[in-house]
Symmetry: C2
Subunit: 288 residues, 2 copies
């Protein structure tokens, strides 16, 4: 990984003109790879990028990254950058788009201790980049608003952040969506947020359980008055939040809905309908 680099002249760096997706591997199996590939191809199309690999070829490259790394649990990223123009032209149509992929050890937004007691989150008044500026259905690296939110949260002694939308409703956090549970009903913001795959997975689990989920505006006071709060991300799955701006959510303990969904979520990782096995080489890869 220390040798995986991108040209400083690639507009994926100089203009953050790129889309990407991150899928995880758990216990040797990709989780919901199809949904991640769907989103990645949709993003490339919306950014008018073209790569020479087919979907099947990309599946092969990703599996190979994981197999060669030897990681049984991995965070696997596929990226398409605008690339650069061979003639120094400033016209993005003349750039050669560039595909890359890598696998690193699985990482989580919340560490072990935070998963056991719940995260302390702060609501920042930073506004998530609105859809009129950037289509949030294109997964992108425009994170300075989220980084600002994170520093705001750290300044206030919290562990991570939520930022708001243009109407001061709760939007999302750095790399995750948020859900509330109130009287057995789930709620998650719909406007201007990333259509997260783990968020989608919560919808799918709730459909199996016949639990109601509302996609709609979420006021900061609704968040704080919830029975339970959790966040969702490929980096960690379903993660409990037990404190918002120093106020305890419910009784300050991880709630039963969050626990049940988390158990179901991890259970699905062995289900062939939701996951795909990685074929690892028989012989361990030699390393220096």
């Amino acid at each position: 990984m220390s040798e995986a680099k991108v040209s400083v002249l690639d507009w994926g760096f100089l203009h953050s003109d790129a889309t990407y997706d991150t899928v995880h591997v758990w216990d040797g199996r990709f989780f919901r790879l199809d949904l991640h590939l769907d989103r990645f191809f949709r993003g490339m199309e919306r950014l008018r990028m073209k790569i020479s690999y087919s979907r099947a070829e990309i599946e092969g490259i990703l599996a190979n990254c994981v197999a060669l790394s030897g990681h049984k649990s991995a965070y696997v990223e596929m990226i398409c950058t605008r690339g650069a123009s061979p003639t120094f032209s400033r016209d993005p149509r003349e750039a050669e788009n560039h595909f890359m992929a890598f696998a690193v050890p699985f990482g989580s937004v919340a560490n072990k201790e935070q998963l056991e007691r719940g995260l302390h989150i702060a609501v920042s008044d930073t506004v998530r980049i609105p859809p009129k500026s950037i289509d949030p259905s294109i997964k992108n690296y425009h994170w300075l608003d989220l980084v600002k939110g994170l520093f705001d949260a750290y300044d206030r002694g919290a562990e991570t952040a939520l930022v708001v939308d243009t109407d001061d409703n709760i939007a999302e956090g750095p790399g995750f969506n948020v859900f509330t549970v109130k009287g057995g009903r789930l709620r998650t913001p719909g406007y201007g947020v990333l259509q997260g795959i783990t968020r989608q997975t919560v919808f799918d689990l709730c459909a199996e359980l016949d639990w109601p989920v509302t996609i709609g505006d979420l006021r900061p006071e609704q968040l704080k008055a919830a029975d339970e709060v959790f966040i969702t991300s490929t980096a960690g799955g379903i993660m409990p939040v037990t404190k918002v701006d120093y106020e305890e959510i419910g009784d300050g303990k991880i709630g039963p809905v969050t626990r049940q969904l988390t158990d179901l979520y991890w259970g699905k990782h062995a289900d062939p309908a939701w996951s795909t096995p990685v074929t690892y080489p028989d012989v361990p890869v030699e390393r220096d």
Copy 2:
């Protein structure tokens, strides 16, 4: 330059968590280097980034990049990225910030033909990322809105684009600010736009000439009804616009105010008060 790369794990790439500045060298002299360094250091401070080089050391690195490249006219970029955490932590406070710089041949938003006849620009309804999301005084790589505007412009047969602010006033274009001239009075947007150094230079030239400049909202219809329109960028200086959305500006020719400012602008490049010489090695650099 083909070897200048950044790690794919650098958050400057993965989160566009970076600030930068670009200064140009013309005829062997940096133009207004002090202003670029001021802005670069301000951006790093606002992003809470720290590098181990002093301002004087950075000046030396930039001059050395140009001298070693041998370019007499160059586009010189200094970048500070968040870097990455040595422990794979997601906490940006734990990252080691990373400074880099490079010099490439001078490039311009407008090519020779466009400089002679004026650019054809289109107004896109894409909204520039608002200040509540990202502080525009931090020069940043969040360009997907500008790239979208550019594709909108190409689709309509224009050569470059302007995007709007949240109230549908004209904001700026991909890498440039915009000015209008109407009845001898200049006007340029003030809200949510990059505080461009070439824009500042136009203010300074107008102050010398005792010409009035208004910083304020600019409606699309005001833009089209102007006597003259020009754009400003380190990449090209002051560049004429003679057509907006297929409508000619004034008589469709480059106007006298634009011409006079352009001449003054280039004249200042030899003025020791506005420029600093680069010391090139006596012996030409050997290349493979």
